[in-house]
Homo-oligomer: 444 residues x 2
């Protein structure tokens, strides 16, 4: 009986961990990958699905297709509900029990509304394909409703789009919303002028892209403004309802009327963190992430490792203070490789190693021709912004996309969108016309 | 004040009617196009979305984008709930009222379960993008569930796919399901062998593709069998539930166990037919289609025309018996052009003309390398099947697709699928894991 490795979640971390068992020495273990969805999602481009630039299949690959050639991997569609750390089992939501000798938990993160879960219905977040479709639906249908609306105040609220949170996702969404309003939809409406739509980016902190050096944050803010986004810094959200949101700013309380609010402000670890804490007594940090040992395992449970956004991990370099690992895809991938390597070492009776994060830099796109790049090079930091940063961002993302076909299709879609300003995926499957609204008289 | 033309529905008929008012003389009327969705759907390829070969945006174009350059067209997203033929208004579901001087109703068709609407939940039909996503979801998740199922009988039911109705859609779906099982998924599962999946095509009549000449029907049946489809003719469905369906055949009653049944058997006209009947007293045929005058107008209401699948129309050629117009896209397009031309004639005070259908033939695809073609030529009928028929079908469909980008993307997707047997859109956004099923013990 070969050792059984169970990997929960097939994002960047889980996928990389499973792949690390391929090739020579692959026959040593049996791997089961269990995920709630049937696809691995290339999350850095999810905002393009939400803004109708790409279709879902371009950035999502069926998990079992990715492991087609790796015979030691079994893929299961299922949601883990319970973990028994002593019996070494995981129980799925439907009651099925999976046994493991080594467990890698890579269940990722979800949105956090800071305890205000009632805001979720008014301000969807962006983590899954379903989220992306919902945001696409709300944005496109807001313009449709505005075209049919006669009341100027209601029309203005329909044409005001608010993104909460100026991290990478919030910046990408706000920049792209502005491009849609100014360019993509221009000329397609007869009663409204989409160019008069307002896009607001609301951030509680003092600058956008807080993970970036201050100078690049300021470049990003300038580029957002140039694209037509109004950036509100130091503005805290105090309430969200179906008509808009309430803010507290330096100037006092403020009310924004909007029918389309998107939440990009808070990230919380997967609920599986709490399941693990109950099973092992491990500590969770404020965001619900699992505090792991230097080798990514749990204290007292060396056979359980937690990686990716679910892990509060530190990077260990001999002779230096440990540093927290940022919640980015290279971090998750590197943790995946480390977790797999430690299982192999353990099986060979070798000493396990602490996780060390290699930081290749940070990049974020803002919109058409706009991005900021912060790279670490042996000669010191290399920082640039604008058109070349955008090209760099674009090719970096296409390069890391899963599958040759997807890379080609995404490049094609982007080239088309760039030259025509058209966005190919402006399709809403469910227009939700069942809701009734007050009677109005429209001249046909 | 220019005459107001209201077009309800933007399928092949409505789109063609609105386009007929472009170009010279375009300034004569104002046109409003109202549709329940935001996109024009290229329905002949919808089965490719259902079978994960194409992504939705490849075959759906935003309606207002199509009319971007036609300044006399206003596009509205809305569902018509009532029509007043004397006041010349249409009322939308939300109460908005649209006034018209000329009305073209092109609301199309939906599924008919022959009075057994309770079958709909167990056997979805294929008319909209949402339908296509639902079928894709059921087919792919059935294989996923089979991989996790230990009970042989339940596993066999999960791997048995039944298509009811052997018209063009049923034949396309059955042929493609067989290709998915035999080729696309082969090698991706570890516990089941997808090639052992069974695909059944159940037809109440004595042959498949009943609209085709008998010899081509037989060719199509042979090609289906070669692809691995079991064709059951003269088999009437008497019941459908969540575990399978009941049939009456020449050999007596029969029970098929299946967790994935697709309905391609019955078509019913849009409910707007009944709305029109109440408003004008017009007659409906057995399928709920509106019986129209030779010029496609309603008796006593020359300003209302009904076209496309909603119309029970006849083709009129001087000196010959009128012939019913088949429910195909060329018919809808020709009716759209005829309706627009008659409005223009009426505005110029000219005599209106009867509708004449030009039949260019009939083609249907069955699966990889398989199709049947029946063309009318001046030298008599030209009939062929197999590989060249399939190439002919393919290029004919790509040619009629809306938009250069879509044509290119679809050709690319097909070339990829042809050479690799892969299907690029095997993505399920919502795996619906909330349903609980009996506890089972699965070895990881």
């Amino acid at each position: 009986m070969r050792p059984q490795v169970l990997i929960i979640g097939c994002g960047f971390g889980g996928l990389e961990a499973a792949r690390a068992f391929s090739g020579s020495g692959a026959a040593e273990v049996d791997i089961t990958v269990v995920d709630k969805t049937n696809h691995h999602l290339f999350q850095p481009l999810l905002y393009q699905v939400a803004t109708a630039g790409l279709s879902a299949p371009s950035i999502a690959a069926p998990i079992r297709h990715l492991f087609r050639g790796q015979r030691n991997v079994t893929t299961l569609l299922g949601e883990v509900a319970g973990i028994d750390a002593n019996a070494k089992t995981a129980t799925l939501k439907d009651g099925a029990v999976l046994r493991w000798d080594h467990l890698i938990v890579a269940a990722g993160a979800t949105h956090s509304y800071f305890g205000r879960d009632d805001w979720a219905q008014h301000a969807p977040g962006l983590k899954t394909l379903e989220d992306a479709f919902e945001i696409r639906r709300r944005v496109l249908l807001a313009f449709e409703a505005a075209e049919r609306e006669d009341d100027p105040a209601r029309r203005a609220a329909l044409m005001q789009f608010v993104v909460v949170g100026a991290g990478p996702t919030g910046v990408e969404l706000a920049g792209t919303f502005a491009e849609i309003a100014r360019h993509t939809l221009s000329g397609e409406f007869r009663r409204i002028d989409p160019r008069q739509a307002k896009v607001l980016l609301v951030e509680g902190g003092p600058r956008v892209l807080a993970a970036m050096p201050e100078a690049l944050s300021e470049r990003a803010r300038e580029q957002l403004v140039a694209l037509g986004v109004e950036v509100k810094l130091n503005a805290r959200v105090t309430g969200i309802d179906d008509q808009g949101l309430d803010l507290t700013t330096a100037g006092g309380p403020e009310r924004l009327h909007s029918r389309c609010v998107v939440w990009a402000a808070g990230v919380a670890a997967s609920p599986l963190g709490r399941v693990l804490a109950e099973a092992t007594g491990c500590a969770l940090d404020r965001a619900g992430r699992v505090v792991v040992e230097p080798d990514l395992s749990l204290k007292g449970f060396p056979h359980i490792q937690v990686i990716g956004d679910l892990a509060a991990a530190q990077s260990h370099v001999a002779g230096r203070e440990p540093k927290p690992v940022p919640g980015v895809s290279p971090g998750a991938k590197q943790m995946g490789r480390c977790a797999a390597a430690n299982i192999k070492r353990r099986l060979r009776g070798e000493a396990i190693q602490a996780f060390r994060y290699s930081d290749y830099g940070n990049l974020a796109t803002i919109g058409r021709n706009s991005a900021v790049v912060d790279l670490g090079t042996p000669a010191g930091p290399l920082r640039f912004s604008g058109y070349f940063a955008w090209l760099f961002w674009l090719f970096a993302h296409v390069y890391f996309l899963i599958g040759y076909r997807n890379r080609f299709v995404v490049l094609l879609d982007w080239a088309w969108a760039y030259w025509t300003y058209d966005r190919g995926a402006r399709v809403v499957a469910n227009a939700g016309l069942s809701e009734a609204s007050p009677a109005r008289d429209v001249k046909a």
